[in-house]
Symmetry: C2
Subunit: 902 residues, 2 copies
């Protein structure tokens, strides 16, 4: 649209041009608005106008624009000048259209007043129905409808809603009166109350209203209307609406529109009714009309759940004509909106009215099926279908879930740290997890928190449960990387490592007991639960094939093991964008050799220990190269500081001393020597390569020896050696020169050569600043946006938890920058790095390998910047593939739009 | 010049144009070179040419260019084509000039072959004298000089030098032969040896030479010359020369030039001699001819220290004519070079020759005096004088020093962490330091290492001595900030806190014993030593007044107390650029209130504790505002993470629990809760302001209340409130809005207003990226280059020690980026931040307040970027003032040069 900004500016400026229009009429087949005007008329208002335009029966009415709402706030909660006049004019128009008059005791017009913002916020804002009723008008209504009970009940409902919504009278005040009356007359249900009972309730309501508000219930319908409009304006900023927008990241809207519409009544007897339906099944996506309705009821009754609604099939029998009409409307709306619709209707004395239509919310499964079906039905082309499915939602389809038929006993709730479902018996440390898993026993690893030493156990487990740590804790990050289900920060758990049990509520779970985790919901259940594996074929596969055709950005995976690599390939990864070698250092006996290397006093000692590691590392790479035959594999050389490989508690240090036959003091001394104040900013990454070059020497040798061997087996091997934490040109050249010498030696020894690249992580701000120089020598860049985000913001992911919540709440950041790339800041770095790099090396291969590589909006950014690929955890590969396709589709559309303009 | 780069490129390209000239002649009043050609001819060669041109008697010769040296390396240690030819031609020219012939047995030409790079590297490279002597030629020399002993001794020296320098024969080999001979003939000194003795020594030398080199001593003078030239070329890259360049940060040179010059002999009897002198006193700068000489000696004898040289006064008596000539030359050289010269001369049989002139090295005191005197003498203008004094050197003049007459007993050596001299009795903790100091006792605080809790004690002490930590350890940084003498990382100290003593070597120093520290040398002495206070008047004051007139950049000081502020003003600070408020939190009882605030469970509890702090903080600010009457004071709000204010060892925690009447567990729990993985990247700076707004509220109130009160006393108060660690626009606006509200409240309460600014530290990379947005609301920027450097490089100052040494040694960084601003990286940020900020707010006040503000080259960068001010520790203010003036002078000069070009 682009007009939102202008509108906002106009609204903010406080200056109104004389011709400013605030109110838009719809009715009798004509409307001033249309579906494209959501920003101004809200979703509801725009669609009411649109439906009117295309000849769908909609009760006439008018919409007061979101801009009026913005000016209302701008003016200190007063209407902008001109609004009152406009409302009056349009009310008269509405009276004409209906042939009724507002406040007329013979032929009264009643209206509904509903909120409706550009983005749907169901239930968050206010609605008043039956507005226009007074003591006098209700008499007219009785005469006109010949239904005394209906009229009094309408009045009762109006006082209740108006009192509560507009004037803040407590719900209980009204409910209490009704309950008392029901007891008094021995009525079991509301419907058992007679006209006179309700009349008495109305009397009591008015008394209560006056007591609580200090004023009489207004008997002027125009005053009622004005107050109701104000209430809707104000409901835009009620706490729950603010909270809802916060939670759903809805920002940048002007306010809510107000829809004033002639009332129709579904509670006028057996030929009336009201219903809600979806044009297709919102759970499965099946192309079947789906909904419920209630005879002789108003909309609120369906929601309130007092009576159980009937399925639509019943309507077909009860009101076949209405059902036929509704089916026609269903088809018309789907053809018109080219999407599954969520509609509300009311039947008043055998006449059908549509009160709302909007694109229906749906599950991921339904989204995929509907998109694919709409292409089959030629309502959409493939490109449009791809844009219809929210990439993030795919996550639901990519992990195991619990069989919905299983009965679940929830015992605790934590953070949904890594999606999926897992069942296993409880173990309390990594060694036990590995031992049990080797026996073929599924296990859940339960820890207060995890550390890098637990990697082996995490890998062996079906799922991970921690008592401490947030969405970006070690457990959460590693689990997501592994595509492993994880519930983190489950604060109620009291874990006793010694007793090997944990308590939560009244439950004591011992080692060996079965529990189940739902990582998508953050829930912990007692006992075994059956899981269902994700289905990646059918409609999903079709949609993904369209996406793959369309996208320009390649999608790789972060994978550290042959197994990860295999999963990644299954999910459609086109290579490995980040293979972390440090995880390999923890496995089995390797850690002993690693520790020997760390304790060594000199180069020789280090070299000796590294020699032991060489064949193991080589084996790892062979497995990965084999799994990725024909696809590139980016291997990052050792990154974490060395102290991460030493134990930090005394028992483990003692154990290590025994195993390694050195004194405890020596180990303690080394731990102290390696201590860092800020490990994130310490002796790690390529700094290790500069000070202890033997380590990288060994790794490069292992990579290239593995590559040569696997090539001999006939596979195509494309290793890309990645140096982490580069910040200066010469850091890179020193390391690269050394690597190239080793490569030549290896090729000579092996009697064969492989093509390989040497590139760098871009994760240090300084590297961006000198990206042009680095690109002279580096053959690829991979933006490590985890670290880059940390350095750019100057806070670490591990520590930011203490204030990030406040920052999001106060709107300092719109999104958690570790979840979704900060385009304003980090994004500038990425643009500069890319431009500077390509200014020197035109075909520089550029990718991203932070967790952002699996976040749809970040993926779209990567596309726009012109990267070659994104890399993400294997389970996010399909999400990235879809997001990449959407980015390409949006770009194409934009180009087309631009062409259209000129 | 600019031509160096071109020259290097040409040299590197390996392509030589046909006309490339490698050899430059000088002699008989004409020279092909001049003083401006140092890059090509080296300092020595250029000055020999220059002296020749201006008519000073110089033995003729020729210079082989540094470019030839570069090509020598480029060609795998072979001469570039054409060089041999050129040398031959110039040798012939030299023979003509002298009337002697190379290798001629009747009239032999002897030459010296000396190195000489563009930058003086005394003693680092090689020299060969008396070249051209052979068994045959020596006979001719005997005939010609009628001095057999002289001739044999010349030959003996030549073989010795050539053998050692060119062929690598060990010194001892030759020395051993001489010693044997001396014993044999009972000669006490070399001069007691007779011609025949020396003749025998020559014979033995030749045998030894052949034994060690496997070849005969060359009897072809041309071969001798070629080998000597190669030796000089090669000496450019001998380990000690490389090390010297490293240490002195000499980079970017092509190589060494080679000077081949006709020999003159100072050892031809009583009418001969050799000497070295300075045209003014290099220690004091006094305008008095200053030097020493030896009769009947060669240059090496003066250096070798075998005989004690005579002062110049003696020359005046012994050779009055020569002395008169020398005085004339002194004057001529000073007038010509317009600087104090360091010259070498030789008298051969009553004839004076100059062998070298160069600008003399001098102490800071001398540099200032000479510069001022040269202006008085109208040899320099003020601008030139300012450029003559190295800003860094001023440091020597700004701190107390030990009386040179005192006898010192050194007991340990550590790092020269903060300059100055201090004497006091030893204390081992901060509390004792404060207690003793209160009694008027000067103390030296001795700690294994210091932490923020020791601030009070550090401040109370005369000097600080630590056993651990480097140049950027807490002790070092804080001490430099305070201008307090500090010796850090004195690893030999064994400190026993319990026994209150430390041992080092055989000394045991107990609490109360006196020691003295030299923070400029890193030395620890036993006992009391008298110190001399720096003298800031006289020439120093004059030079500084010229500097102040010239500079555009203002100089402020980092000062946290009224006392610091007073010192800063004395040193010429034009305001305070950084007043850190956290140090105030440690003093006396305040820490209790601070800890109460930290332990508080809610806003009310915090507010209560902060109320106690308010009057104390206000008092601090009052003192500072008073001291800085009329000058701006930038106050940074609380920056460090809160856990820095809690004790981390159990005894202190227990103590705190008792004082505060809470349980030890509560304190431990809070410490654990506040623990951070990377405190540098944690919950600090304005993040505290966002999450605990009460803290900044209190501080802002304290600042503005103090300002109003002091204003009432008639002082001019200019507070500038600085928010640390800003990374996002909204962070700033939220805090600023809050502050402005408090300001209005305070002004109302006080019944008066003061002007104040609210600005931000620029220390987070993201802040630079959004500097334009921040400048919409921030009234000043102050680049916090300590943190900015850490974030840009991605390493912390505390942890970088583990690899920074390797990085400097391997040339990855030219300088320690924490000492001298990294212009390539961090400098880009500063440029962008400045440009972006001023693009929005044209008059945005911009400064720097990292430690770089006191580093001359960084100050010059700040000038070029267009900052308004730099801020540094009080003791560095004069350095910054001078550096700022130099920057302005250089800029003016550049502009003038550019004008000249057009």
């Amino acid at each position: 649209m682009g007009s939102l900004a202008t509108m906002k500016k106009k609204a903010k400026s406080g200056k109104q041009s004389k011709k400013q229009k605030f109110v838009y009429f719809f009715g009798k087949g004509h409307a001033e608005g249309n579906a494209g005007m959501k920003d101004l008329l809200g979703g509801k208002g725009a669609n009411l106008a649109e439906m009117t335009r295309i000849g769908i029966p909609v009760p006439p009415g008018f919409t007061i624009s979101t801009q009026a709402c913005a000016l209302f706030y701008e003016n200190g909660e007063k209407w902008p000048s001109g609004l009152e006049e406009e409302i009056k004019t349009h009310l008269a128009k509405l009276e004409d259209a209906m042939g009724y008059r507002f406040g007329d005791r013979n032929n009264p017009l009643l209206v509904s007043v509903r909120s409706g913002a550009a983005v749907s916020m169901p239930g968050m804002m206010d609605t008043v129905l039956n507005l226009g009723l007074t003591a006098e008008v209700v008499q007219g209504l009785i005469v006109k409808t010949e239904n005394e009970r209906f009229a009094w009940d309408a009045y009762r409902r109006f006082i209740q809603m108006f009192g509560n919504v507009v004037m803040g009278v407590k719900h209980e005040t009204f409910e209490h009166i009704i309950e008392k009356k029901k007891k008094q007359v021995h009525a079991a249900q509301d419907t058992d109350l007679q006209a006179n009972d309700i009349k008495d309730i109305v009397r009591q309501f008015k008394v209560a209203y006056q007591e609580e508000t200090g004023e009489e219930f207004p008997q002027d319908p125009h005053l009622q209307l004005n107050k109701a409009i104000n209430a809707v304006f104000k409901s835009w900023n009620n706490p729950r609406a603010i909270k809802y927008r916060d939670l759903n990241e809805i920002r940048g809207l002007l306010g809510t529109a107000v829809n004033v519409q002639a009332m129709v009544f579904g509670n006028m007897g057996e030929t009336s009714g009201t219903g809600v339906c979806f044009t297709r099944n919102p759970s499965t996506g099946e192309n079947k009309f789906y909904g419920e309705y209630l005879v002789n009821a108003q909309g609120e009754d369906v929601v309130a759940g007092i009576r159980t609604p009937e399925p639509l099939d019943k309507l077909k029998i009860q009101m076949p004509e209405i059902y036929k009409q509704l089916c026609k409307i269903r088809e018309k709306l789907e053809r018109h909106y080219r999407d599954m619709q969520d509609i509300e209707f009311t039947v008043q004395e055998g006449k059908l009215f549509l009160l709302q239509t909007r694109n229906g919310k749906r599950t991921a499964q339904a989204a995929v099926r509907i998109a694919v079906d709409l292409v089959k039905e030629k309502l959409l082309n493939q490109e449009e279908a791809i844009l219809r499915v929210e990439a993030k939602q795919l996550d639901q389809l990519l992990h195991p879930t619990f069989d919905p038929k299983e009965k679940k006993e929830e015992i605790a709730k934590g953070l949904p740290a890594s999606p999926g479902a897992a069942t296993g018996c409880v173990v309390f440390n990594a060694d036990d997890a590995e031992a049990q898993a080797k026996k073929g026993e599924p296990v859940i690893l339960v820890r207060i928190e995890t550390s890098p030493e637990d990697i082996g156990g995490m890998f062996a487990a079906q799922g991970i449960l921690t008592a401490r740590g947030g969405m970006t804790s070690h457990a959460a990050v590693v689990a997501r990387g592994m595509g492993k289900c994880c519930v983190a920060g489950c604060g109620d758990l009291r874990i006793d490592y010694e007793a090997k049990e944990f308590r939560v509520g009244n439950n004591t779970i011992k080692e060996g007991d079965f529990i189940s985790l739902d990582g998508s919901l953050g829930k912990v259940y007692k006992g075994k639960l059956k899981t269902i594996e994700p289905e990646l074929s059918g409609d999903f596969a079709r949609l993904m094939s369209w996406a793959d055709k369309m996208r320009r950005l390649q999608v790789r995976a972060n994978a550290d093991t042959p197994n990860d690599a295999t999963v990644a390939r299954k999910f459609g990864a086109q290579g490995i964008g980040l293979c972390r070698t440090e995880h390999m250092f923890f496995e089995g006996d390797r850690i002993i050799a690693v520790r020997e290397m760390i304790l060594a006093q000199d180069v020789e000692g280090r070299a000796k220990a590294l020699e032991k590691l060489l064949p193991m590392q080589r084996g790892d790479f062979e497995g990965i190269f084999e799994a990725m035959d024909g696809l590139p594999v980016t291997i990052r050389l050792l990154d974490p500081p060395l102290h991460e490989f030493l134990p930090h508690d005394e028992p483990s240090q003692k154990e290590m001393a025994e195993v390694m036959k050195v004194s405890l003091e020596e180990i303690k001394h080394k731990v102290e020597e390696l201590h860092e104040f800020n490990p994130m900013l310490g002796h790690r990454g390529c700094r290790l390569g500069i000070t202890f070059p033997e380590i990288y020497d060994m790794q490069v040798r292992a990579i290239l020896e593995a590559a040569c061997r696997i090539k001999k087996h006939g596979a195509r091997v494309l290793p890309e050696i990645m140096i982490p934490l580069i910040g200066a040109y010469k850091e890179f050249t020193i390391l690269k020169d050394r690597m190239e010498k080793i490569a030549e030696k290896v090729f000579e020894e092996q009697g064969s050569r492989v093509d390989y690249l040497i590139g760098t992580m871009m994760e240090i701000p300084r590297a961006i600043l000198v990206a042009d120089r680095i690109a002279e020598v580096a053959q690829f860049f991979s933006f490590g946006t985890n670290d880059l985000t940390q350095m750019t913001f100057g806070f670490s992911r591990d520590d930011a938890g203490k204030f990030l919540g406040d920052y999001l709440q106060q709107g300092i950041f719109e999104k958690d920058p570790f979840q979704s790339l900060d385009e304003e800041g980090v994004g500038q770095f990425i643009r500069w790095g890319t431009e500077k790099g390509r200014s020197v090396r035109r075909d520089l291969k550029i990718g991203i390998c932070g967790e952002h590589g699996g976040d749809p909006s970040s993926v779209k950014f990567c596309h726009r910047v012109g990267m070659n690929y994104v890399s993400c955890s294997p389970y996010r590969v399909p999400i990235a593939r879809l997001a990449a396709a959407q980015a390409a589709a949006l770009e194409k559309r934009k180009k087309f739009d631009r062409k259209g303009e000129t």
